[in-house]
Every structure is written in C-alpha cells, then in structure tokens.
C-alpha cells in the first residue's frame, strides 16, 4: 500500500517527469522488484509445472518436450546469433504494419463513431472484416502483390485495421457525453473537438483497443510469414515456428512458441503497460479501493 502511494507520486503526471522526487535508494529497488518479481515468479511456476509434467513422463517426449530441450534450441539460436535476425525481421515488420494500420484505422474509427450513416453502413463491414482469418487473405495477397513485403503488410493491415478501428469506436462510445458538450461550449469546432476532447477522452478505452490491435497485427504477421521464405523476405519467427512444425520437431515448435511469447510479453511490459499506467494514473483511475 505505501508502495503504491509512492509510485502514484512518481508517475502522477507527465508534467512531473522532470521534478526531482526524493525517493531513497532502498525504495527504488523495492519498487522495481515489485514490478519485475511477479511476472518472473509466474514464469518460474509455469516452467516448474512443465518440468514436473515432463519428469512424470505423463506423455511421451514427442508430445511434451523437456524444458531443457527447448532451452537448448533457444540457446543455439542465441549463440549462433540467428535470434537477432528472427526478432528483427518479425518485430520491425510488425511495428511498421501496426503504424500503417494506426494511420488508416484512426480516421476510419472516428468516422464510424461520429457519423451515423458510416456507423450503420461501414461499421458492420469492418466487424465482418475483423472476423476474417488472416490466412484467408494469404493466397489473394500473393496473387495480387507477389512474394514480397507488400503481401505481408496487406495481410497485417487487414488484420489490424478493423481491430484498431473497432477499439477506437468502443473507446469513443464510452466518452461521457458531457465532455464533448463542454468542448462545444468552449468553442471546439469539428476538428478541435476531435483533437482536444474526443481523442484524449477516449484514450483509456482506445488503449485497450490498441493492445488488441497489436495482437491482431502480430498474429496476422505470424500467419503471413508462413507463406514462404525467400532471401528477399528474410526469416522471421513465424517461419522458424513453421519449420519446427514441418519437421514435426516439438522442441523447435515450443522454442518458436516461447520466442513469440517473449516478444508478446516484452511489448506488453515495455510499451503498453507503462503507457496504460501513465494514462490511468493521470486520470486517477487506479483507485486504491480496487
């Protein structure tokens, strides 16, 4: 509890970032520990269960690989340096795809949320699009764009744009109507109302949508990377996973899953979690009562 209060004051607002706050060394260590220990603990528990299951020889080795076997797969990638390429290829693609999706999805979401005809006409289509699996677009993407990054981005966009747009719509729908009214009374025009009132007000809900959108774009990318490897495309995590699958090498499959998982957790911890904390704290949405 006192811990939480200290964090609150440290991250209370963006404006406060440059204010020196007198926190003793010990509390900083404890603060970081309180952040880092729980996920590590959870992972340790997971791995322990896995190890125990494996050691119990419940299932044959080809059904459940030993944690050590998976680790040696990953370690091999690390020592050979291949892991850097795997991460780089996939992550940079996902980030670019996500960025493009954002640029398309935000105006789309604003239009759907604010214009009745668009909401009724395009809204359901966007949701329908969201329910199309990425793999469905792979053959068409290859046909239309060829075996290159454009095909991959196309698949990623079709996965991420509807999701981000829907997330934004849901965030906008929850904005208390008094806020845009106040905005209007304060002289906000169409654009000012969006820029200064609607978008910031929808931010907490939109962040949730962004997280889902990121998950969609990352998953779509993994699906798209299964299409083919070519020197032009480079080898990403999706391809690595697929290689494991086509070799029916379960420890490689698990290594692929672990690596993809690590990226997912990393993005969550490094990007979305701090963003969320900042946004929620600044608005007083992290009540100690909860």
């Amino acid at each position: 509890m006192p811990l939480d209060v200290q964090e609150g004051s440290v991250e209370a607002g963006l404006d406060a970032l440059d204010t020196p706050v007198n926190i003793t060394e010990g509390s900083r260590v404890r603060r970081i520990a309180a952040r880092v220990l729980p996920p590590i603990g959870a992972i340790v528990v997971l791995v322990a269960i896995w190890q125990a299951l494996w050691a119990a020889a419940f299932w044959p080795e080809f059904k459940l690989p030993a944690p050590a076997a998976v680790w040696s797969q990953i370690w091999q990638l690390v020592t050979s340096g291949d892991i850097a390429e795997l991460f780089w290829v996939s992550v940079h693609r996902a980030v670019i795809g996500f960025a493009i999706s954002l640029v398309i999805a935000v105006p789309l979401g604003l239009a759907i949320a604010n214009i009745t005809v668009v909401r009724r006409g395009i809204g359901p289509l966007v949701s329908g699009l969201q329910s199309l699996p990425s793999v469905a677009w792979v053959p068409a993407a290859i046909l239309w764009f060829g075996l290159n990054d454009r095909a991959i981005y196309w698949v990623v966009l079709l996965g991420a744009v509807p999701s981000i747009a829907n997330g934004l719509v849901s965030g906008l729908d929850q904005v208390p109507p008094i806020l845009p009214r106040v905005g209007k009374a304060l002289g906000a025009g169409r654009f000012g109302g969006i820029r200064y009132i609607l978008l910031p007000a929808a931010l907490p809900g939109f962040l949730g949508g962004l997280k889902q959108g990121w998950a969609f774009s990352w998953r779509s990318l993994m699906a798209a990377e299964l299409i083919a490897t070519s020197p032009e495309l480079g080898e990403g995590l999706g391809q690595y996973l697929h290689n494991g699958m086509s070799l029916s090498d379960i420890s490689m499959v698990f290594a692929g899953i672990v690596l993809i998982f690590v990226v997912g957790v990393g993005i969550e911890l490094l990007v979305f979690r701090p963003l969320e904390n900042t946004v929620l704290r600044a608005r007083g949405l992290t009540a100690s009562a909860r």
Partner: protein, 255 residues
C-alpha cells in the same frame, strides 16, 4: 401572470426566446421540460433564473448555448458564442487544473506563454493560485467548481467578433462555503461591470439572486414556464416577496 418585456427593435439582444418549448422523448414517457417560454436578455444585463429543482433551468441554458435544440418555438441568438459554467464541473480528467483553464484558449489558438499567464491569473481569481498542476481527481468538490468557473471565464476572453458577449452560469457557487462564495460573487460583479457582458445566472438561492441580478425570473415546474419577473436592482426587500412566490409555485405543483 407571465410578463414579457417589450424591447426596442433597434437594440440587438444577445438572446431572445419566442414561445420556446422543449420536450424530452415522445409518447407516454415524454417529459415537457419547457413550454411557451418568452424571455429576453438585454445587452449587458444580469438576469437571475430561479426555480424549483427539476423545473428546466439547465435545459433553458443548454438551449441558449446551442447544446440542445428546442422542440417548439424559436431562439434568436445575437451574441458571440456564449461562455458556459455547467452545473457539474465536468473537467477534462486528463488535464491539470491549469490545463483545463487553458483549454478554450488553446482551441482559440492563443500562444502558449499568453495562455499560461491568463490561466494563472484566472486561477488566482478563483483563489486557487498554486494549485494549477493538480489533476481534477486531486481537487475537492468546491475546487473543481472553481476551476470550471475559471475555464468559462477564459472562454469569454477569445470572442472578438464585436457581438454582445453572453455568460451562462448554472449554479456556479453551489459547492462553495459562504466566504469564498462572497468573494467570488464580488469578483463576478466586478467582471460584469468591467466587460459589459450579459449574464444569465441560474441559482436556487433567492438571496444570491437578489444580490447579483438586475432582474430575477421565476420558472414554474412541469412544464417550465416564466411565472413572474422582478426588477431587483434597487429593491433588496424583494427577497421575501420572491420567496413567497417560489413557495407558491412549488406547492401548487405538489398539489
């Protein structure tokens, strides 16, 4: 007993109601909030609006501010965009107190340093100097109301189109202690005299209405109609008379 004031056609009133009605919903569940309201605010006039809880005062202000459309009648608005103090503070939760006060200036394109200065000045005015970097959730109820007041005053500052200015205030002092309220009432009168802004002021405090207003308008409830008006500028004794009228209006409704 409805009394409408005839004005000379050559003076443009900031706002004029012509038999305005407002009904929420349709069918059996509809609520008639306002009905046949004729009301005019003259340039630079300070009008106080009195009425029972739920009689339609907020609805009337919303109509003037253009945030709702009347379902009957016509509203003639000759002022520049009215500044509004809402009944709830409705601060933007992602902005600090100063950020909230700066918001209308930002939307009007006022440069940053000017905005800063203006916001600090207004916060000082509402006795919140030094609390500009607090978030709304860190403020007390009365402090929030004062920030909202400062914000509304900031939004009057940017109208430059020459039309008469208009300030709409919905119970702006309801959450304040007697002393702070006293001070702010004084400030409001000072600002009003200095700028010549017309003010339409909603309150449930008859004493306040008589102290501040030149004219007091009493609304009845369900439907909201203008029941009576008093010129109170030089009639401090009107308080009891108005209280009696208010009591009559409310009890006639309850009956």
């Amino acid at each position: 007993m409805t009394a409408t004031i005839e004005t000379l056609p050559d003076v443009l009133s900031p706002v004029r109601f012509h038999q305005v009605g407002k009904t929420f919903g349709t069918g059996r569940k509809s609520v008639v909030a306002l009905d046949g309201v004729d009301l005019e605010v003259e340039p630079g006039e300070f009008v106080c609006l009195l009425g029972a809880s739920g009689c339609g005062k907020t609805t009337l202000l919303n109509l003037v501010a253009g945030l709702d459309q009347p379902t009957a009648g016509r509203i003639e608005l000759n002022s520049s965009r009215p500044a509004v103090v809402f009944q709830e503070p409705a601060l933007m939760p992602w902005l600090t107190a100063a950020g909230n006060v700066e918001l209308p200036l930002r939307m009007a394109g006022v440069p940053k340093s000017q905005r800063r200065a203006k916001a600090a000045e207004l916060l000082e005015l509402v006795r919140l100097a030094g609390l500009g970097d607090k978030r709304p959730h860190e403020l007390s109820g009365g402090m929030r109301q004062r920030v909202a007041l400062a914000r509304a005053l900031a939004s009057t500052a940017d109208s430059t189109d020459g039309k008469p200015a208009l300030l709409l205030m919905d119970e702006p002092f309801s959450a304040l202690d007697a002393i702070t309220r006293d001070v702010l009432q004084g400030e409001l009168l000072r600002i009003w005299r200095a700028t010549g802004t017309a003010i339409l002021f909603v309150t449930h405090d008859v004493r306040e209405a008589v102290r501040l207003g030149q004219r007091v308008v009493l609304l009845s409830s369900r439907p909201g109609r203008v029941v009576q008006e008093w010129d109170v500028e030089d009639a401090p004794g009107a308080v009891d008379e108005i209280n009696t009228a208010l009591r009559k209006v409310i009890s006639s409704h309850a009956a």
